[in-house]
Symmetry: C2
Subunit: 411 residues, 2 copies
């Protein structure tokens, strides 16, 4: 049995005309002899409508009841789309998360998939050509409904593809693939034919708009090839695959940026064991995610510690820091919301030095000051003043030749 999974997002199912386009995509695969598992999101705007409704009823809606409420969005999509398929004589039926079942933990609103029962799915695929599955939802082992968090339908699709050993998981969206950088910032951004899972993960800040992070982690873990492509064209999009399948092992695949950054500096804290823990443990306890961290060299037993958090969490972070300020001997707490992070990403840099040097030199050539640096095996990130973000992205994009078809490792 040749199985393919196709996932369509909210804009792709917003109304009859859009759903007809989705139907055409499904029929194309049927003609090629595939059994198709279609995963649908709620119609665009529906989830937000339901959240707004809940907020009328409760300032802090109960998370489990919230999931009961939100799962109706995808339920409506799959029912309507199944009607459309059946009317066209296609053997199809809808399936809700609990009907498969897609078992998750009990973390309402951000549940993780634990287990998918494939037996029923395989049985249903014998008598049906298309199964229309509600994305974003599952249930715990007591049949309480759960949801997988924003963008969770991507994860549903990848998980189903993994469980069913599908040939590929196609993620249809309103963009036509993954680009070397944001085309809104850099007009000669180029669509990448292939990208490695790790690169896709690092491209999170742009990629979040294309794929839910967790779905990529899932795809990497189970080695599910993802094809990100447009609902509104027949052009191939971007394949997200294992590193060794990215044939042109290019040095740098893309430039990402993230303006949701705020910088906090604690000056002249005691340079002694336990100080970092004293700062970052209370932040973690309040679910504040710290991104970059830099500690300056010690001077007379004192040091400066700088870190970044998401902008909307900066005020909370400062409140927490103020409480522990004296304990760690901090002289001042400085902060800056006008910063942005620019990242150079590529699995190729695992085996090559010199990428960082090019990046720094490029930024310097435009007189862009680097406020912080953090690196991983496949990424170099620089914190800069926010106003230089677009300039930095364009300059780095050009410096690494991303506007041109990739050459073999050119360093």
């Amino acid at each position: 049995m040749k199985i393919i999974v196709q996932k369509f997002g909210g804009t792709s199912v917003a109304g009859l005309e859009r759903m007809k386009q989705v139907k055409a995509k499904v029929e194309k695969k049927l003609k090629k002899g595939y059994k198709v598992v279609v995963v649908l999101s709620a119609m665009a705007g529906e989830t937000d409508r339901l959240i707004k409704l809940a907020m009328e009823f409760s300032k802090k809606p109960d998370p489990s009841e919230m999931d009961v409420l939100l799962t109706t969005g995808e339920q409506v999509s799959v029912a309507l789309f199944s009607m459309l398929l059946k009317d066209a004589g296609i053997k199809a039926r809808s399936l809700l998360g609990f009907q498969i079942p897609i078992h998750t933990d009990k973390a309402y609103g951000k549940a993780r998939i634990l287990d998918i029962d494939t037996e029923k799915l395989i049985e249903l695929l014998k008598t049906n050509d298309v199964l229309v599955v509600a994305g974003f939802q599952g249930c715990d082992f007591q049949q309480n409904l759960t949801t997988l968090g924003r963008g969770g339908s991507d994860t549903s699709a990848v998980a189903l593809a993994a469980a069913l050993n599908a040939e590929i998981c196609e993620i249809y969206t309103d963009v036509d693939g993954v680009y070397t950088t944001d085309p809104n910032v850099c007009s000669n951004a180029r669509k990448l034919p292939k990208i490695a899972y790790d690169e896709m993960l690092e491209m999170a800040s742009m990629g979040a708009k294309v794929l839910q992070i967790r779905s990529v982690e899932f795809a990497k873990k189970y080695n599910v090839p993802i094809h990100v492509r447009s609902t509104f064209s027949d052009e191939p999009g971007t394949l997200v695959v294992k590193e060794d399948e990215v044939m042109e092992s290019v040095l740098v695949s893309g430039i990402a940026y993230d303006k949701d950054q705020a910088r906090i500096t604690l000056t002249e804290v005691y340079d002694e064991p336990g100080v970092a823990a004293a700062i970052f443990e209370p932040l973690a306890a309040h679910n504040i995610v710290v991104d970059m961290i830099v500690q300056n060299p010690s001077h007379e037993g004192r040091t400066d510690i700088t870190f970044t958090v998401s902008r909307k969490e900066m005020d909370d972070a400062i409140k927490i820091i103020d409480r522990i300020k004296d304990e760690i001997g901090a002289k001042e707490v400085l902060y800056d919301k006008n910063v942005a992070k620019v990242s150079v990403i590529g699995v190729g840099m695992r085996n090559h030095s010199g990428v960082a040097a090019i990046a720094f030199r490029t930024l310097k050539s435009e007189n862009i000051n680097i406020l912080m640096i953090s690196t991983s095996e496949i990424k170099i990130s620089c914190l800069i003043e926010e106003k230089y973000t677009e300039l930095a992205v364009r300059t780095l994009h050009e410096a690494f030749g991303l506007d041109k078809e990739p050459q073999m490792e050119s360093l």
Copy 2:
């Protein structure tokens, strides 16, 4: 464990303010030490909105997918109401039909309840004070979602009350009880404190607005006392109970009328075995419900057969009759949409003759011609010209003294 079931219809849950009133009704019972099972309908207008949406997608939407779609209506209600209760510190949770489960047959759109698993409910009532159950829905034994048909939430409530051996099933609605007749027609209609299940069933044509017929059949079968009352007042409504609990065994309880009647007459058909079957079997095969049937005395081997159907089905019925007309020797097919049925209802007439005579005399006194008559043990129905409907109802209401507090069997 003292259990009470409370059912609230669409207008009672239409929005936050209404739901707060529902919450007050629930809290009142909690204070009295009850565990409360609340059954909710979809918010007013929601089911119609979903049906309209489906009709955009399909002229004849697949019934099983329709049920997947429609069950979202109640799902939204129970999630929102449970949020409200939990916010107020009440131990509560929502339950969908499949989670209980309420098992039904596979008749999508008009499924019948086969079985309710009380074990989980009882278990949940130990840790919760309120269970908020989605009405109108269930699932078959393969976990396919089903719905119970319009007004099905009444049946859900009665079935749950029966399964849980609840003290009473309260049906909250936007009217404050069952009246001796339609108060819009007869200004001195009186609210009945009690009514027997059979009377309630016969009052269908008015009662349909108050209680779903099937819920009354269910209540009768399992002897569940129903209290029909208003969400918007604290006045007692009408108790629907076993016949022998209707203390004042009155002769006549109410006058009902039904304008959804059309009369069809086949003149001079062969008066021989099989003719009635030849007429009514094809009608039944097309799901056309025939209400009254009258066959005139035979004359020279020929007879006239007259019957009534719902107005919207008259054209279809005539098409079917035209096909078999010659076979049964019918000379003419006559029809009339301007007819209505007026019924005198009361369990008291089981033991008393004379009620029919009073009814006929009363209609004659107003010069209202009786076109057809049909009787049951507890009902006398007369088909009359539609224009006399209100006059007939008012005159009969007065003739049987229904505007006054009931006297002991006064005939």
